[in-house]
Symmetry: C2
DNA sequence: CAAATAGTGTCTCTAAGACAATATCAC
DNA sequence: GTGATATTGTCTTAGAGACACTATTTG
């Protein structure tokens, strides 16, 4: 009788064909626009990082940053590595979105993708930006559902406008997947991945633990509220928002002054690893 | 300049090493135990399907049903196929749990696993059972957290008792992963996959849409309540449970009689695809 | 009738939403 | 002072939990 040790030393993974495995990352950032008046607070915009494809297939179209899984790393590590290679920033959080494994999803062959959402603070991006090779750009992004139940995804960066129309794929499964109806400018099935990422992000942003990752260590409660409102595309009364996050933050003694209105106290995330 | 068509016809996926891709499925069922008295309702137990490994590695240990992803199918299809091969039953629902890609997780080599939870109704299993080859068995399962924050997983089928102790792996990511501290009788990292599956299942079972999948088309509200209580390991007052599910069910004209107590009306899931 | 479950009505409490009022700064 | 945001307090309302009570069956 063969021992396990013997078995393993003789074992070869069968020669069945194997898929290539990639990760694609939807990296979201919230950027503050320029102020319209010296005393007004800046507007926030949700941004998504896309990379212009230099070669075939989908040449000159835009894609999520991503790449092949390497031996010795986990898919999470791969996702973090890819996003760091593209931005020089290590994301504060990544969350799994799902596996995209439709056999036809990539014209190059059998390639399945593990999709992740990542959250990056504007502060960390500003610190490294400047040198960038212009093939990676932050797009202003919106994602809304219309009356017919279809979803409209829009991505804008300067003169470049990408868009897609999607429908929810009813599958009786837990996570909603999306079906691409129209697509303009996005490579592969990335419109569907972005839509699914949005769903995950918006679901997570209900937890007051996720939204901190968009901000620096110290922040005002108004900026925290703006983060949630920008992601969820809703608005809350400041009084109620403050009450609701009060358990998650703690005061500092610092204030933001010089804004033409009452100074805002800076808060810090409370250390409540439940 | 090469066209996309030309590019693709010349394209070969690089010879980088590729991982083998599998799916593993944690299939849950709720079974009713024998009545302790002619008029009492039966107790419910949560069961998990495991397969005894016939060969190396982890020979004679128990594993989740699963198998290699085949060309032309999605990972969801693979999960459904595997569970159907093992049980002759097509699950009413599957939900993604996560990707397990630790390089050391499988002694045979580089194998990453896509884990799913699936829900199977007792009724459908009873219809096909009997012939079974005894290598696949339903284990009574419990999963609880102790004071130290450790989790204890226990699986029992007749004289076979499997168990594991796990800790939550704090990673700042969305989904909690688990770290195996002790493991007795379970193959690979399947204790961690089962723990993660439990987390997903318990989270989903809060939605009154998931729990229907454990029951036949028509059911009593009490049996529906028992399903939720069995999964979540909590108890609710019947009056409140009824109020809470009232939006998800509709009455039928049928009753369950002959139980030694007031007959229970049968209900049906309401068709509210939101 | 006893034992058991099925089903209804209502009180309380809490958290979320709405709204009003006050505080504080730069110009 | 004016225009803007910051911050606090309180009223209202919707939903979850607790509890008491009634209804209906079989042995």
């Amino acid at each position: 009788m063969e021992s396990e040790k013997e078995f393993l030393s003789n074992y070869k993974l069968s020669d069945y064909e194997r898929p290539s495995v990639t990760t694609d990352v939807a990296a979201f950032m919230i950027s503050s626009e320029d102020k319209t008046s010296y005393r007004k607070n800046p507007e926030n915009k949700l941004q998504l990082l896309l990379v212009k494809r230099g070669g075939h297939p989908y040449k000159d179209m835009w894609a999520l940053p991503g790449g092949f899984l390497q031996k010795g790393e986990t898919v999470e590590e791969c996702a973090l590595r890819e996003i760091q290679e593209e931005t020089q920033v290590l994301p504060t959080a990544i969350m799994p979105v799902g596996v995209f494994s439709d056999p036809d999803r990539d014209p190059r062959g059998w390639i399945i993708s593990n999709a992740y959402v990542s959250i990056i603070s504007e502060e960390s991006v500003r610190q490294v930006s400047g040198d960038d090779a212009a093939d990676a750009q932050w797009f202003s992004v919106s994602f809304d559902r219309n009356e017919n139940g279809e979803y409209y995804l829009s991505l804008v960066y300067e003169d470049t406008e990408l868009s897609a129309v999607l429908a929810e794929k009813k599958s009786g499964f837990g996570r909603t997947k999306f079906h691409i109806i129209e697509n303009s400018g996005l490579a592969f099935d990335h419109a569907a991945i972005i839509a699914a990422s949005f769903t995950v992000l918006r679901n997570e942003a209900k937890n007051y633990n996720t939204i901190f990752d968009f901000l620096p260590e110290k922040f005002t409660l108004t900026s925290l509220q703006k983060v949630q409102e920008t992601i969820m595309n809703v608005s809350v009364l400041p009084a109620n928002f403050r009450r609701m996050v009060s358990g998650y933050v703690e005061e500092t003694d610092e204030y933001v002054r010089g804004e033409g209105h009452r100074p805002a106290r800076l808060y810090r995330r409370k250390n409540t690893m439940i």
